[in-house]
């Protein structure tokens, strides 16, 4: 029978050593090294074109790395076919077989592995029950909603009980409400399956809420790896600082808030309007969000800053000249040329 409680027997850590993937002159992934311990929920986060999907596909075996080594557990898998890697893949487009019923879709991975009929029917029904799909087993994917289709794709992934789940933006095609629900379902699934998840997204909310660790990628390299809180609290670069957090971190030009050649960053919640000191700026927009107000200010032609304020406070108005400061203990400092973090 299908029993999630005690099916784990292998260790499925992932280790990437100097992995590169080049398409012609394009270095999609450039010498990436990453350790994903067993049972971790690792998020690969970054803007489109940063190489996160390519890196995931390299782990799944859909791309051959140009250089470097990919280990799953203790095994070097560079030359191992995807089917022998004990990996399941969930795609953004769901990739369900439109001509097969939900049941046949879920059973397919077992069928190709030669599992006998009764066993795979039981496994498929158990997987479907886990994801609340039992009433839809005999429908075609075309008759299901987007959220249901995504759950079928998840059921098809878990039915094989793989050690590693690779998910490529699985929620991007869902509407906002369904996305939030399915997010929680995937997190619960991870807790129950005790498998290693590698999850690609460009959505920092997904990254913050789902991952045990986040790898922030840009231009084929990993800028920072850490827990969501670490990445938020101590961003390793200006890029990470501005990519994580909504609205993004305010960056003050060198020499404006502090003397010196470094940049100073402050989250909107720790940026304050002050009367006496600070950087002069002009209010360009006041946004009322109900629970708070966001004051958008222009420091100069290229630098903007956002201040979050209580809606009950006295708010500045469009065109007002204000002074901005950041609470001393919440300041981040970055090198002006390299953009990387400076710790004092």
């Amino acid at each position: 029978m299908f029993n999630h409680a005690n099916y784990r027997c292998i260790v499925a850590s992932i280790r990437l050593i100097g992995v590169s993937k080049h398409f012609g002159d394009v270095k999609a992934v450039n010498e990436v090294s990453l350790d994903v311990p067993d049972r971790e929920f690792m998020i690969l986060l970054g803007p489109s074109g940063c190489g996160k999907s390519t890196l995931l596909r390299t782990i799944a075996g859909l791309e051959d790395p140009t250089a470097g080594e990919v280990f799953i557990g203790d095994r070097l898998v560079n030359d191992v076919l995807p089917k022998d890697r004990d990996v399941a893949m969930v795609f953004q487009s769901y990739a369900l077989y439109p001509h097969k019923s939900v049941r046949a879709n879920i059973e397919f991975p077992l069928k190709v592995r030669g599992v006998d009929t009764t066993e795979r029917a039981a496994a498929a029904e158990a997987a479907a029950a886990t994801l609340g799909l039992t009433p839809y087993l005999d429908r075609k994917p075309g008759a299901l909603s987007g959220g249901q289709r995504q759950r079928v794709a998840l059921a098809r992934a878990i039915v094989r009980r793989p050690a590693v789940f690779c998910m490529d933006e699985p929620l991007s095609n869902l509407d906002a409400k369904l996305r939030a629900e399915t997010r929680a379902e995937i997190v619960a699934l991870h807790a129950r399956l005790e498998a290693t998840f590698v999850y690609v997204t460009h959505d920092q909310v997904e990254a913050m809420t789902m991952g045990t660790r986040i790898a922030v990628m840009r231009d084929g390299i990993i800028e920072q790896v850490g827990s969501p809180q670490e990445v938020y609290d101590r961003p390793a670069s200006v890029f990470v600082a501005q990519f994580i957090g909504t609205p993004p971190m305010n960056i003050f030009p060198a020499g404006s808030l502090e003397s010196g050649t470094h940049l100073v960053g402050g989250r909107p919640e720790s940026t304050t309007l002050s009367d006496s000191d600070g950087v002069t700026a002009t209010v360009t927009l006041v946004e009322h969000l109900g629970h708070e107000a966001q004051i958008v200010c222009a420091i100069d032609d290229t630098h903007r800053a956002i201040v979050r304020m209580s809606p009950s406070a006295t708010l500045p108005r469009h065109g007002d000249n204000v002074r901005l400061s950041v609470v001393e203990s919440s300041r981040h400092r970055f090198d002006a040329t390299s953009g990387s973090r400076i710790d004092r």
């Binding site: 089917k83 893949m89 439109p98 190709v112």
Partner: protein, 304 residues
């Protein structure tokens, strides 16, 4: 209700004016000739076709019962049974081969689809040079002739056993470009993730082909089958150029179209009979297409 009816009538002239041009073309070039052919089918004419008189609709049943017509239908069916499956299989095979992301694959795609740009006349002449029994290319390959003496004596196109297959092969070749292009387009419509998903799930090449490629290609395959079948039933140029409906006296390559139009057809000087055969061919093709869409349609998956 009343106002909508009135409005509908008021819009009628406009509707006719808009439909006019295409209606005119349809009537002048399709409906009128079709009706004329149906009418001609119950007439008997003199050799110059200057004088025709009605002999009754029974002429259709006479044609239907005649040995010549039945034999031509059988030859046509055999021709279709050779050309359609082989053409389809080769088209799918080549398209799947060329669907890989390989270097210089564009070169091979161009070659595979090149027969589209070859007219029936050119293709048939080329095959004539290949198959000609004394100076043809095949006739000059010694070991092949030892293996198949029919190549030299009487020649593949002159032997009653091989003539039809030989013409059919040339027809397969000529249609291959079309099949290849249509199926390549169909393959490109299959999302790559479906193949990748099956690949990760452990499906090998053959299983991916049967479980993913073929089912998702089925609308394209149905379309291609219908087109190839109707082309097979209407094949004329290659038969006229390669065998002239022969070899005589078996008339083993006299298909229905050749019976209608061929220069050595037994009814070549009787316009009424020719029209009757043409109308019957039209009915057969109509029935066949309906059958294909109904029968195969049930097994076709038009995606999610």
């Amino acid at each position: 209700m009343k106002t909508s009816t009135r409005r509908r009538w008021r819009e009628t002239p406009l509707a006719i004016a808009m439909l006019g041009p295409s209606l005119l073309i349809l009537v002048a070039f399709v409906l009128y000739p079709l009706g004329r052919a149906v009418w001609l089918g119950q007439q008997r004419c003199n050799v110059q076709a200057t004088k025709c008189r009605s002999v009754g609709w029974g002429q259709y049943t006479d044609v239907l019962r005649s040995h010549e017509f039945q034999s031509a239908v059988w030859v046509t069916v055999k021709f279709a049974l050779i050309t359609v499956p082989i053409g389809l299989a080769l088209g799918v095979g080549l398209a799947v081969l060329a669907d890989k992301h390989l270097r210089h694959i564009g070169f091979f795609r161009t070659i595979f689809s090149s027969t589209v740009a070859t007219s029936v006349a050119v293709a048939s002449l080329m095959w004539l040079f290949l198959l000609q029994p004394s100076v043809g290319v095949l006739a000059n390959i010694g070991w092949l002739n030892d293996l198949f003496p029919v190549i030299k004596e009487p020649g593949l196109l002159n032997d009653k056993g091989t003539a039809l297959s030989s013409v059919a092969i040339s027809s397969v070749w000529a249609n291959l470009g079309f099949t290849f292009i249509v199926i390549t387009a169909g393959l490109q419509g299959i999302p790559r993730e479906l193949q990748e998903s099956a690949f990760v799930d452990g499906a090998g090449g053959w299983r991916r082909f049967t479980n993913v490629t073929l089912p998702l290609l089925s609308p394209t395959l149905l379309f291609t089958t219908v087109v190839l079948t109707s082309r097979a039933f209407q094949a004329y140029g290659e038969i006229d150029l390669l065998t002239n409906g022969g070899p005589v006296p078996q008339q083993s390559t006299t298909t229905v179209t050749y019976l209608i139009y061929g220069s050595s057809s037994i009814i070549k000087s009787n316009e009424g009979l020719k029209a009757a055969v043409a109308v019957l061919l039209f009915v057969i093709l109509l029935g066949l297409s309906a059958l294909q869409f109904r029968g195969l349609g049930k097994r076709v998956h038009y995606g999610a």
